[in-house]
Assembly symmetry: C2
Homo-oligomer: 277 residues x 2
């Protein structure tokens, strides 16, 4: 029963208690902002980082060049870690259980090996906690930096980690075909296979005209996700916004099973009504 | 739906495909057989190992002294790693992503710190792969070594990791009260909170007379598990053997919810009939 309630968004019952398994808090972290030659390099670099740091790899956030463009444009005090503009970036964090410098040694080892293999074109390791915070602010400004750009059509999807580059390339192509000038702004949490594939409106287009393309563009992105065996909801669930989309991408059998479970646990339909199903 | 099917023992549907997330295979392992002064030391030693080795801690198997007694008695070629008999033992394994000796250094560090804190009385680190295999054989002989001892009443339960010592102490006391001479043979997988709490019959007692106490003794153990907020089935599920026990320890509401889900997904009752519910 427990796992049925997790992710059911309050539609099957109310969770009133939880037991958490805790792990030791890391004593040190090391952070790098890395410039990639292309999206294809993100996957072998991730494998290299995972092989070298193991579970000590605690963040691997891949961002298209346009993410940094918008963050630098709209975030007061944000500074580019590099002298040149690059097509793709990744924020890498490693953590260590002891404050013995191992996190930074492992991170340096990853970056040195990646450089030798041509998987990166530039890299900056944070030399202080404030520089690490600056790197993280570039990442965390992802959403606010898109707001001043007008209409934004949001996708929060997941696919197998190894398919993230293929997903982004195909989704980019679909957007270019359906709405020339619209700007995909992808950010991928490589560790769990989830991708924020937001689409910023073409500069100069009327915001309402762009947002009228919501279903059109999200359905094209979702169709690629389903072809790749992924999920149209990653971190943010189904809720109201994706309720109609759920029925689009799930089979009749799946929808029927979900409705049967809902009606057997909530026959009066009083639990978070109108959500998910 | 996915998490509903996991653990449903084939009663809700048939799993026909699965996608697995893979992690790099360790390049090296280090193994130690450790003698503890008492059961209470097992928990702080586990915390110490987890703080020092992090996710590199890949096994922590706690065994009562009687486990080793029976294994040495009934396993051809099994040898005691120590000159003296000790009340509790733990098999600890650490793993490393590179073959650089770090797994053994970390394990040595754990044991040295534990020794200084009085958490262990003796320890042997395997000096070769064959010695590591010998240590593991002591652990893996847990089940076969109990067979020649006659009747065996099996419990496979789980409680929060921090409550394992309390569970074992209380279950030991319950067995001593209900069936003097019966011998608890506990083995705890500390990493996931699951405990095999087998009970070997009193020497000399008729096997059938002991097995007639099955419900009596398992219910006493299960009641302690439920008081501690645990689960009466850990690794081995409910199946047929614990079907009646499930209804004993679950509330009417929980049983009703499970039955509703079962009947809504399998209205004809054709999926693994007779199991779980």
């Amino acid at each position: 029963l427990r796992d049925l309630f997790i992710g059911s968004e309050g539609t099957l019952g109310v969770i009133t208690a939880a037991v958490l398994k805790l792990f030791p808090k890391p004593a040190e972290k090391a952070t790098a902002f890395v410039a990639l030659p292309d999206l294809a390099s993100a996957l072998p670099l991730y494998s290299l980082a995972q092989e070298t740091a193991g579970h000590g790899l605690t963040a691997y956030e891949v961002m298209a060049g346009i993410v940094l463009d918008l963050v630098l444009k709209h975030t007061p005090g944000a500074r580019d870690p590099f002298a040149a503009r690059h097509p793709w970036y990744v924020l890498i964090e490693t953590s260590g259980l002891k404050a013995d410098g191992a996190a930074e040694r492992v991170l340096t080892e990853v970056l040195t090996a990646a450089s030798e293999k041509g998987l990166l074109v530039d890299a900056a390791i944070a030399g202080s906690l404030s520089q690490a915070a600056d790197f993280w602010r570039l990442r965390e400004s992802y959403s606010p930096a898109q707001k001043p750009e007008g209409g934004n059509i949001k996708n929060d999807i997941s696919v197998a980690v190894a398919l993230i580059p293929e997903f982004i390339a195909r989704a980019d192509a679909a957007v270019a075909r359906l709405c020339p000038g619209a700007r995909p702004v992808p950010l991928a949490h490589f560790g769990d296979g989830s991708v924020h594939f937001n689409i910023a409106q073409p500069p100069g287009m009327a915001k309402e005209a762009f947002l009228a393309r919501w279903d059109d563009l999200t359905h094209a992105v979702q169709d690629i996700v389903i072809e790749l065996g992924g999920s149209i909801s990653a971190e943010h669930g189904i809720g109201v916004m994706k309720r109609a989309d759920l029925a689009r991408v799930k089979s009749d059998v799946e929808m029927d099973l979900m409705r049967r479970i809902k009606s057997s646990l909530d026959p009066k339909g009083i639990l978070n009504p109108g959500k998910v199903l």
